[in-house]
Symmetry: C2
Subunit: 169 residues, 2 copies
């Protein structure tokens, strides 16, 4: 009888036996723990050394890679955060003199933001140190580990994107 139901399930996929997904769950929790650990550490160091928040640093990092500026939507997509979130972040960074914001000449809906001279200088200073923190946090991984992790995370990302997309369609 056990064989019978198993065959039915594996051949027809009509029966939903309670499958065991404990391994995937544990993987997800470990991934989350890892990320939170590192993110918390980076957040703390940015605050202590430079009195800057992680979201601000991340936004400046995006702009550093785009000398011609970006629109708020671009930033929002790249950072994977909501539009309203970016609006607030940009507001505070313009206020503190790190960002320059201007309305596009060709489309008055669009706001183009850039790093100011101050913003770029400060970011470069922070980024240099940030890079050493990251290297330090990952120091015990061999080059091979790093390559393998990169590969597996790429696969994971693709898998998750596929699953997310199929739900929305």
């Amino acid at each position: 009888m056990g064989d019978c139901t198993e065959m039915l399930d594996s051949e027809t996929k009509a029966v939903e036996l309670p499958e065991d997904h404990a391994e995937e769950l544990r993987l997800w929790l470990r991934l989350l723990t890892c990320t939170n650990l590192i993110e918390g550490e980076v957040r703390g160091r940015l605050r202590q050394r430079f009195d800057v928040t992680l979201p601000r640093f991340d936004l400046m990092a995006q702009l550093d890679k785009a000398p011609d500026g970006m629109t708020l939507s671009d930033v929002s997509k790249r950072m994977m955060v909501s539009n309203g979130n970016v609006t607030g972040l940009v507001e505070r960074l313009v206020e503190s003199g790190h960002l320059d914001r201007r309305t596009s000449e060709t489309d008055r809906r669009v706001q183009v933001i850039r790093l100011t001279k101050l913003g770029r200088a400060e970011f470069r200073r922070m980024a240099a140190e940030h890079e050493t923190w990251i290297a330090d946090l990952f120091a015990d991984l061999t080059p091979k580990d790093v390559r393998e992790l990169m590969r597996l995370l790429a696969k994971t990302k693709a898998s998750a994107q596929k699953s997310a997309a199929s739900r929305r369609s």
Copy 2:
């Protein structure tokens, strides 16, 4: 001359040449992207299906594993969030009838929280579905991929903890 400086550096560790940590940086960004992608997806599904937030779900998950209850400090350590954060979360979950909070008999500083019957029932319902979402999001990984990721993430966690600890000492 190149050989000379390289030897000096590798032997004495006294010279700090600008090393290249681009690989580690890319790894960190990919790790972050992956986690954010999955976390966002889970957050959205929890909200749509159950009108519950991820932090609330996470807190209930901790309590589900502790039938005898936990103190707020325990929860705060397990979830890797601040004390004040837990205070607020618990407040709202007690308010909504999912949690029971009482002061410890033996130590009046300590608050012990537990899932109520309602809280446990709702959590179990959500957790069952949550598990299938996770399985789905990781569906394209082979069992070998999963094992390998688990191993590499464990190594990463250990490395990061070591680095974080050494900074604080």
